[in-house]
Amino acid sequence: MDSDRKKTKVLFVTGGTSLETKRVYEALFLVDSGLAAAQWDHVMELIQKILDRAQSRVISIRKWDERKLAYPVQGKGRGTYILAYFECVSSIIRQIERDVQLSEEILRVLVIRTDRMNPADMDKPTPAMLGRSDSDAEKSGGSEPAVEEVPLPNIAIEDV
C-alpha cells in the first residue's frame, strides 16, 4: 500500500505537463575572446547547432559584450558573451547545458526563464551595441599605447 502511494506521488510530480510546456528562455554563452574574434561564424554556427539539437525556436541571437573576466575561466582572461532568446520545452534545458559542458569552444552557459522579465528587458540594447567600453576594458586599454594624433614637429631628419 505504501509503495503504491509512493508511486502515485512520483507520477504526480513527473507526470504533469510542466516538463512539456514551451517557454521562452534566455541563454548567455561565454566564449573565449580570441576564438570569437578569429572564427566568429564558427562560434555562431556552434551555438545555433546546440539550440537546433534542442529543437528550440530561436527568437534572437546576438553578441552581448566582449570584456575582461572577473576571474579566469578555463585559463582564459577575456571572454565574449553571446545572448540568445529561444523557445523550447523545459526538459531539454539540461541537454543544452550538457552540450556546452562537452564543447571545448564554449566555456560556460547560463539559461534562465524569461517569464518574470518585461519585453523591455529583453530588447535592451547590449553594451556591444552601445559601443560603451566597460571599466575593465578601459583599464586594459590604458596599458596599451593610446592612439592619439600628436602633431609632429616639422623637422627634417637631415636637419637633426
Binding site: 548567455l28 561565454l30 552581448w64 570584456r67 573576466l69 572577473a70 576571474y71 575561466v73 571572454g79 558573451y81 560556460r108 547560463l110 534562465i112 518574470r116 522579465m117 518585461n118 528587458d121 535592451k124 566597460d134
Partner: protein
C-alpha cells in the same frame, strides 16, 4: 513669584525629514533585477566583492532576494568576482 516665559519667544521650527520609505528598486517599480546590469549590482557590493546587508543597502526583503540571485548569477558568468 513665578517666572513667566517672555511672550515673543520664538517656537522651535520642527523640520521633518522624511526618510525614503521604499527601496531603490521599488521606487523605480522594477519587477526584475537583471544579472547583466553590472553597474547596478556593483553598487551593492563591498570593495572585497561581498554583498551588502539590507541595513546597509536599504533594500526591501523581496528586492534583496532578487539582488542576491542576480549577483550570484553574475558571479557564475564571471561578470562579478566571488572575492577580491
Amino acid at each position: 513669584m513665578r517666572k513667566t516665559a517672555p511672550p515673543n519667544r520664538k517656537k522651535k521650527v520642527m523640520t521633518t525629514i522624511r526618510e525614503q520609505t521604499q527601496c531603490r528598486f521599488c521606487r523605480d517599480k522594477k519587477k526584475y533585477i537583471d544579472y547583466k546590469d553590472i553597474d547596478v549590482l556593483q553598487k551593492l557590493l563591498t570593495n572585497r566583492g561581498k554583498i551588502f546587508s539590507r541595513k546597509r543597502s536599504g533594500n526591501c526583503a523581496g528586492c534583496q532576494r532578487k539582488v542576491n540571485q542576480a549577483i550570484k548569477r553574475a558571479r557564475f558568468m564571471s561578470l562579478l568576482p566571488f572575492t577580491v
